[in-house]
């Protein structure tokens, strides 16, 4: 069977009825008819999103043993655990499209699948835990709040669940940032350094500019997306600039200025060459992340095997008892 992406000839009447359902604001459910391309696009988006949640545990998981207090450690463990949950919610949604989670995970582990480029940057100091919660989860919230209205029901429902949990992630991050920003000069310098390193990668999280985003028009027409990458990026910048000012931190962009006419914070040019390099696998931590993920998967194999063996034995025993 040839499964390479290719144009499938769809029944024009069905296609029109599908678009009409979307235009009426109806949600598409797993057993409903959908164009093959819609199924593929959603499978791609949802699996990449799920992978991002899972890989996203790694940069922060690094710091659990080094958290500066028990309170911070408990919060960080809970946050990382949530990200595992987010991955599972979205894998569960993706499986309703007819794919197997084990295959999706295989694609992640052998490097065929993509995940958010942000997680290929290193976490160099404790301040990074604060800045990730504030900026990275903050950017994810902007994205996910809109995805909670996506036309595919299982994706939208997973997003609603996730959005409820993300606010804790952002606030615990901002609390760390505010504490360090009000701390000693060394602490303040540490958090400013983290902001300087994470700001631009956070802006890249919204994906390529609208002028360079081949999938956008289709995803907007299908109401998988409701806003373009650039619109969401602008919303994030507008939200974040005052939050930085409130704790007396600067954002590393000399071109940042408020435009009275548009009410937007205009920002400087994004280094798209860097973005594409990281996507291509040449970010600072791509290799390390995948190796850590593979090791975690392999180290967990005995647990899955033991559970399967127990289930087989237990199932056989109860079948004998019943007989």
């Amino acid at each position: 069977m040839d499964q390479k992406p290719q144009a499938v000839a769809e029944d024009p009447a069905k296609l029109a009825e599908f678009q009409a359902r979307i235009d009426r604001g109806e949600s598409i459910e797993p057993k409903d008819w959908m164009p093959e391309r819609y199924r593929r696009q959603l499978t791609r988006m949802m699996s990449q999103h799920a992978h991002s949640e899972v890989v996203g545990m790694l940069p922060e998981g690094n710091w659990i043993t080094r958290a500066p207090s028990l309170r911070r450690k408990m919060s960080l463990i809970a946050k990382v655990q949530d990200e595992a949950g987010h991955g599972l919610y979205i894998y569960c949604g993706a499986e309703t499209l007819g794919v197997d989670r084990a295959d999706l995970i295989d694609q992640l582990l052998d490097g065929r699948a993509k995940y958010s480029s942000i997680f290929n940057y290193p976490t160099l100091s404790w301040a990074d835990m604060g800045v990730i919660g504030w900026l990275v989860d903050g950017a994810a919230i902007v994205n996910q709040t809109v995805l909670a209205k996506a036309s595919y029901g299982p994706y939208a429902r997973a997003m609603i669940r996730i959005c409820k949990e993300e606010n804790f992630h952002k606030r615990q991050g901002y609390e760390i940032v505010a504490t360090l920003a009000n701390g000693t000069p060394a602490q303040k310098a540490m958090v400013q350094d983290a902001v300087n390193r994470w700001w631009w990668p956070s802006l890249m999280m919204f994906g390529p500019s609208d002028t360079d985003s081949p999938n956008s028009a289709e995803l907007l027409r299908w109401k998988v997306k409701h806003k373009t990458n650039d619109e969401l990026r602008q919303r994030f910048v507008n939200l974040t600039v005052p939050q930085a000012a409130a704790v007396d931190l600067t954002l590393p962009d000399p071109d940042l200025r408020y435009d009275e006419a548009t009410k937007n914070w205009e920002f400087g040019a994004i280094d798209w060459a860097e973005f594409h390099e990281v996507i291509r696998g040449n970010g600072p931590c791509n290799r390390e992340r995948l190796e850590a993920r593979r090791a975690a998967h392999e180290n967990g194999r005995w647990v899955r095997d033991a559970a399967a063996a127990y289930a087989a034995k237990h199932g056989a025993a109860s079948a004998t008892n019943a007989a």
Binding site: Q3, K4, P5, E29, K31, D32, W33, T43, A78, Q81, D82, G85, L88, Y89, C92, G93, E95, V99, D100, R101, A102, D103, I105, D106, Q107, R112, R157, A158, R161, E165, R301, R304, A307, A308, Y310, A311, H314, G315
Partner: protein, 102 residues
């Protein structure tokens, strides 16, 4: 999906659908699914995935392939018997003006 190799053998167990009851007296509602080797593990996984913040006071897990569902394609004729019976609704019946408590 682009996939030239055989499907994974590391299946992580069969799929279970998860239903949560959010509070006393509320119905169980579909929350999502988990993979698990058996029912006991499915319950534990469901708790860890869908009830980390007291979202549930009761959980059901059901083997996904045990669920029988109506098909969207037949939804029209299938639900038709219930759609054309206005006389099953109280608004169908006329009540003389001024009569209360009906």
């Amino acid at each position: 999906m682009t996939n030239d190799r055989p499907p994974s053998t590391d299946t992580q167990g069969p799929l279970w659908e998860v239903f949560t009851q959010e509070e006393q007296g509320a119905p169980h509602r579909h929350a999502g699914s988990v993979h698990a080797a058996d029912a006991e593990q499915a319950l534990q996984n469901a708790r860890d995935v869908y009830a980390r913040r007291g979202e549930a006071i009761s959980l059901w897990v059901v083997p996904a392939d045990a669920i029988v569902a109506s098909t969207p394609g037949d939804a029209g004729p299938f639900f038709d018997p219930g759609n054309d019976k206005a006389y099953r609704h109280p608004q169908f019946y006329k009540v003389p003006r001024g009569v209360r408590g009906l």
